[in-house]
Symmetry: C2
Subunit: 377 residues, 2 copies
């Protein structure tokens, strides 16, 4: 059999055809179904962008209305899932909770045994609505607060903040999260999406694929990076240190600064542009520009010193913190958004499926090595 | 960036260096750490083969004793996991149960936040012991039977049958399952193992990787194939049909016969050889050779008609059925075995890690397509 030896981590290997996401890493372009992320961040909503990702084009007014209604209608969490959330020890992380609860969702999904395109779209609505609910409900449960019932009249982003905080979010807060959800909704064959496609390609169910994707997103090289950024900002704040000096010392000690550089982008990550803008605006509006100012100082230093650009994770840290969101919810919120892209990729994979099964280059003991009785070892 | 376009499903792409498993698909060779699967099936045990997969060489007598003791000692299922198993609706499949319960295991693992090599080896012992327990305990729970406590004096295979059936297995039954577990323990970068490595490569935890792998194994193109074989045998039996005629009609109707052919093997799957032998022997010993005879007739027909060879799934169906195991436990038992290889691969991945992040060939709407206001669509 002829084989091609891929670069480590499959770098530079085209593993699938996909009509969902276009990335030009050299030019710093990200587009969903051909539409630039900048246009979407400025004009679209999470609901509309999700329609776009799932259907390949923007919806008409009536299509968008129906789509949004269907997503809102899916804001129903089985009481057994709430029992499960209450039963899990609070020593675990919200990502472990989300992984376990999404796996359990399959038991209560009427379409579980139906792996057709249409059934998976119905399941995608429920997963999208309910992943957000699980994150919000679990945060209330672990804090001993009352669970806030979903408000089906709100947008996806506003309802999430409502269920999380128990107060109706300001227009700015809701729009900030809405844009953050648009920006994180898809990113081609990133590790979690690729994991979802590998799982789906065995013709397993979408809950298996999404559960696996959540597990991948949990990793600090993927979804965990903005949590690391915020922990750094807190450490600098606590030490009362100058951010640039603090980071200089970290670099001198060969420590990695999270939130910079990207496997794919050689320029600025186009998503960072919007998160920087929102972080700055929120800082001004809230009268607490500390996190933005600190971030900006670090960014300028790393830009000049290491020639590395901020990525999507860098300014989402200060943005979410200024929205009052706990650090360990940053990665779950990434999942609240990325389910949109995961679902699009799983459905695309199944529409023209082949098992994803690469080979390994064997580097172990020579064949044949022989089994010998234990007395002779 | 220069890219290489892979065959669909990454066929022929070498995605990693690995010292665990050697497959020569042309020659029909499978070897763990250089030792031929035939030698292992004839001489080794699941414990010894797992030591081999994890450590790269056969254990000494004292190493094997200590390893087996550590695996037996890990037969402790947190009562909260048993509560979870009891709480899940019996309308779900055992694979959904296993996926959910393994995800929940992380909450009770003392090493959860430690992703070092040594911690992952400790977690691998617990996962290997407890996946078997979860499968057995859940089967008792769903049938309303009392849970059978683990017997730490038994081998891994014998303890599984003991906890499943509540009677001590015969030597033949225990050895048959032991060999089946050896045969299924690893298979290089199969889809579930590859999913586990993609997830682990984000530096996520081993529970995430194994949960994702279980999700992949659940798919009918992967672990589900022997269930399909057994459903076919039952259908033929129920119809009182001649197996060859039945299969002829299926082929005429363009239906796929599960359990034949393999992406990698061009000859007979070397694992099938042992499962055929055990299926035949068990049929004779139990005085019920029906499933073996039916399988053999189908195999000979498909061999001659389609030039396809039986794979690992074909004779595991009749073997497990003759052992008295329910059809929907076949794939969970695959996981009971494959955790051994999954763990070896996750640990190998983390020992020399790089994020696994391929690219896609974009085939969607041209960039730039522009966002237009909804009124203009």
């Amino acid at each position: 059999m002829s084989t091609v030896v891929a670069g480590k981590g499959l770098e530079g290997i085209v593993a699938a055809n996909s009509g969902i996401c276009w990335i030009d890493g050299e030019a710093g372009v990200l587009a969903y179904r051909g539409i630039d992320i900048h246009e979407l961040a400025e004009n679209s909503t999470f609901e509309e962008s999700t329609y776009l990702l799932w259907n390949g084009r923007l919806p008409s007014a009536s299509e968008l209305k129906e789509f949004s209604a269907q997503l809102a209608e899916a804001r129903e969490l089985n009481p057994k899932i709430i029992d499960l959330l209450k039963s899990l020890p609070t020593t675990g992380t919200p990502m472990e909770v989300l992984r376990t609860a999404v796996s359990a969702l399959s038991f209560y999904d009427a379409d579980e045994k139906d792996n057709t395109h249409d059934a998976n779209v119905r399941k995608a609505f429920r997963l999208t609505a309910q992943i957000a609910m699980i994150v919000a409900v679990y945060d209330r449960v672990r804090k001993g607060l009352e669970i806030v019932p979903a408000d089906k009249s709100l947008s996806h982003a506003a309802n999430f903040l409502w269920m999380l905080n128990g107060v109706k979010p300001s227009e700015t807060a809701a729009r900030t999260l809405d844009v953050a959800l648009i920006l994180h909704a898809d990113h081609e064959l990133n590790a979690s999406t690729f994991a979802a496609r590998v799982i789906a390609a065995t013709l397993s169910d979408i809950h298996s694929a999404i559960t696996g994707a959540i597990g991948a997103l949990k990793g600090p090289l993927h979804g965990g990076a903005n949590e690391a950024v915020m922990r750094l900002l807190h450490a600098i704040d606590k030490a009362g240190a100058d951010p640039v000096k603090y980071v200089q010392e970290m670099l001198a000690g060969k420590q990695k600064i999270s939130g910079f550089g990207h496997r794919v982008y050689k320029t600025e990550d186009p998503r960072a542009t919007h998160l920087r803008r929102m972080s700055e605006q929120l800082g001004k509006d809230s009268g607490n520009p500390k996190w933005f100012d600190m971030s900006r100082a670090i960014e300028l230093y790393i830009n000049s010193e290491k020639k590395l650009n901020a990525n999507v994770d860098f300014y989402s840290a200060s943005t979410y913190t200024t929205l009052g969101i706990d650090i360990d919810l940053f990665t779950p919120i990434f999942a609240v958004s990325r389910i949109s892209g995961w679902a699009a990729h799983v459905i695309e994979q199944l529409d023209d499926n082949r098992l994803i099964r690469p080979r390994a280059e064997y580097v172990g003991p020579a064949y044949p090595t022989h089994w010998v009785p234990v007395a002779e070892r």
